[in-house]
Symmetry: C2
Amino acid sequence: MFYPNNIKKTYTTKNTHANRGMDLEYLIEITNEYYLDHDIAYIYKKPTPIGIVKVNYSLKKIEEAYFQKASTLDYNGLYNGYYIEFDAKETKKKNYFPLANVHPHQIQHIRNIIKGKGIVFLLIMINDEYYVLNGQDFIAFVDADTRKSIPYEYIKTKGYELKYNFNKGLDYLKVIDKLIGDGIYEKN
Amino acid sequence: MFYPNNIKKTYTTKNTHANRGMDLEYLIEITNEYYLDHDIAYIYKKPTPIGIVKVNYSLKKIEEAYFQKASTLDYNGLYNGYYIEFDAKETKKKNYFPLANVHPHQIQHIRNIIKGKGIVFLLIMINDEYYVLNGQDFIAFVDADTRKSIPYEYIKTKGYELKYNFNKGLDYLKVIDKLIGDGIYEKN
């Protein structure tokens, strides 16, 4: 089994459905491994950015550091010539997804990826359902609405639901294939 | 000035030519900032992967962690619909670039990016000169030769030299534009 450069791996000795649970990040790990093992796509979780304060160079040991906020999204990579970037977002709210979950740098970055002709989306877990909300539909909401959260109905209507698959996890490229087929992305 | 999510920033209070010197990584930082500020490309250095051993959750402080090796390349992003990935490699050797500088996972990853129709290259500093060595030419050498280093002459012949520019740093996309124009990359 392939492990991405993900700090989570240091907390568990073995990542199985049983001992790690079905959290969104783990499902995406299954999916990205499936894509990698089958030469479908090369998509990785970026390491969590860390601000390092103190290093013991003789021991090559970091002795003081702090987690930092990323200004890009957590996952990016390559799919058959397409640049793909996305973030995984979970909410426990039933009726809405709070926009506070996506910080301003990330919103700007989503705009940039659209400008640069990349594929960008959010993979949202809400009400124990999983949705791909395409970057364009996310930005359209942010620009048109003054609300601080996206209603569940908007996600359900504009997004594409993903069903869990034991081998593939959350096969989000199936949605991307559909969107590519619909011609919504610019080509070179 | 924009700072990528780069642990280096925690070591200096201000990144200027004067106090940080003209190392390769810093030059690429200038270049990527230039591209970002001018909406040319969105290319970031990935955070260094860290294996975390001990966290003080109440202080949100990492108390023991170690640097890990990345299995991908250090920089990736989006340029006008193209997926771009590269690594910066310096050598003090005058006549050759030791292949030990690129570890086996990275070589496999370079093969993957080529398969996935992305743009991948090494930005090599040798003899105080800077070269873009395209992934295809790098892999061709690795596959054809049993030597443990790439001769300087191979890099000079197959690579594309970059000259330092005060505003743009090392404008590597100029080379990529040429290669795109030559039709060496597959299109969707």
